[in-house]
């Protein structure tokens, strides 16, 4: 049974003119790292809040269909219960902060799980080290910059060791190096969990996700391998004129094809491009 299942899910916020999500049927599996991409208002964040239980327990609206997390209906399970398996980073991370100090913030959920003091301390240490925030343990959250706060929120989710991670624009306040480092860390840990990342930045998603879900006006318009999406997206005459949001490496593969090179698969990362180039260099035009 997949950790997350959605069956004919539709949702409309109270007072809204139209649906935020329409007839979503999909599943997310263990070991998957899924990127969710789409414009503002496409339903990306709503999809996550249907998994972590904020919909329907916190947000009122019209919900039809089913969402199951580890076999349990989300509608029948309080968010606190779901929190034992689901770790969430909200887009509005600054207001997500609960603790006064860094240590308290990272440990918050762990306190509620009844772990021993030693285990909590170990997890906090570990999470802070991963985020490069070791010396900040006793600092007040208020003293941190936006980027540092976001790293601490991520540390909290890492410390929770949740099987399901729902990350909504998790690196919006971070610079490019920190962003790449965090995405690589998440990729290294994907085996034992289900990681779903919402981002408007395909350049961040493509190198690390194994599956891309594209949402437009609340509906899934693509769900599959990232490379195939780029191929279709670029070959579509209407969108090719814009090439909005397409990572430069993917555009590079398009230009190389135009120059007569045989590029069987669109590049999703700099490393893929590099390996193709080296392989062509060794193998020749043939």
């Amino acid at each position: 049974m997949p950790p997350i299942e959605m069956r004919n899910l539709s949702y409309k916020y109270r007072g809204a003119a139209g649906n935020a999500l329409t007839n979503i049927t999909t599943a997310f599996h263990k070991g998957e790292m899924v990127g969710i991409w789409g414009g503002n208002g496409s339903g990306k964040s709503t999809l996550l809040t249907c998994i972590n239980g904020l919909i329907p327990h916190f947000h009122t609206g019209d919900l039809t269909g089913e969402v199951l997390v580890k076999g349990q209906l989300v509608e029948d399970t309080p968010p606190g219960q779901l929190a034992l398996s689901v770790g969430t980073v909200l887009q509005d991370f600054e207001n997500q902060i609960i603790g006064l100090e860094v240590e308290e913030e990272v440990a918050f959920g762990l306190d509620n799980q009844g772990l021993s003091a030693q285990e909590i301390a170990q997890r906090v240490d570990n999470a802070l080290e991963i985020m490069g925030m070791v010396g900040y343990r006793k600092r007040l959250m208020q003293q941190l910059s936006g980027g540092q706060k976001q790293k601490i929120i991520l540390a909290g989710v890492i410390a929770s060791q949740a099987e399901i991670l729902l990350l909504d624009e998790p690196t919006s306040a971070l610079d490019t190096l920190a962003t790449a480092s965090i995405y690589q860390y998440l990729k290294s840990q994907q085996q034992n969990r289900t990681t779903i990342i919402v981002s408007q930045n395909l350049s961040n998603l493509l190198p690390v996700v194994s599956r891309l879900v594209v949402l437009e006006q609340g509906e899934i318009t693509y769900d599959g391998e990232p490379t195939a999406f780029i191929e279709n997206y670029l070959q579509n005459q209407e969108t090719a004129g814009h090439m909005d949001g397409i990572p430069p490496v993917s555009k590079l593969s398009m230009l190389l094809r135009t120059s007569g090179n045989s590029v069987p698969k669109m590049f999703c990362s700099v490393e893929e491009a590099r390996q193709w180039i080296l392989a062509r260099k060794e193998g020749g035009q043939g």
Partner: protein, 234 residues
């Protein structure tokens, strides 16, 4: 609240319960006592405690802020009352207020909450609400600062103009601050749900039992209170 262990002193090592007790006793003593020299002595002790317990920058801010309040209140009272009574009122006000900064500054919010819940048996939700409200004060002050900056950049001059104009301009801080605060509260509530706030009242592993020094300090404070009020009321 406590910053980091670099500035830790003896007061930091004392548990929250004796500190809460001290705050309540000093607050009560300030109300009960009516002799100027006792109140003056209490205020001096509190200032020494502030200077000892808190970083110089914070201590300076509190002392100056309190002095400004004292002058303001004293000036108003002087319109209606004789000097001696004005001094009594001002000293009492200072004595009641100045005990809280050094006590709160040497307490960690989590320890305070645990003390309220597990030692004073206050329901967890109320204790959490109290400590969260306390910690939001610096957050909202921070937000007010950013809002003030943003509005200044739209030509809103908070420093010049007559009082009525300046009050009107402060609406440009107050209104977004309130909206921001409401938004903050909603996101915080969501975040608490998502971190399992409502799972159970499992006793957190971080609650520290009272040690002999905590008991000794508490006992000493009770005795000091009794002596102080006994002499000070005479």
């Amino acid at each position: 609240m406590r910053d980091n262990d670099d500035t830790a002193n003896l007061l930091h090592s004392i548990a929250p319960l004796p500190k809460l007790l001290t705050s309540v006793l000093v607050f009560t003593a300030a109300i009960a006592v009516s002799q100027l020299q006792y109140l003056g002595g209490l205020v001096c002790l509190e200032i020494i405690l502030i200077l000892y317990a808190m970083p110089w920058g914070q201590a300076k801010g509190i002392i100056i802020g309190m002095a400004i309040c004292a002058v303001f209140v004293g000036s108003l009272q002087y319109l209606f009352l004789p000097w001696s009574e004005v001094l009594l009122i001002v000293l009492r006000m200072m004595a009641m207020a100045l005990i809280f900064p050094p006590m709160l500054a040497t307490m960690r919010m989590r320890d305070l909450r645990d003390t309220l819940v597990y030692q004073l048996k206050i329901p967890y939700d109320y204790a959490f609400m109290f400590t969260t409200a306390l910690r939001y004060v610096p957050d909202l002050l921070n937000d007010a600062h950013y809002i003030m900056e943003a509005q200044s950049c739209r030509g809103c001059d908070f420093k010049h103009g007559n009082p009525w104009q300046r009050i009107k301009r402060y609406m440009a801080i107050l209104a977004p601050l309130v909206m921001h605060g409401l938004n903050k509260a909603e996101t915080l509530a969501m975040s608490m749900e998502l971190r399992g706030y409502d799972i159970s009242a499992v006793k957190p592993a971080t609650v520290q039992p009272l040690r002999s020094i905590d008991v000794a300090v508490s006992a000493a404070m009770i005795v000091a209170f009794a002596v102080f009020v006994g002499f000070g009321k005479a």
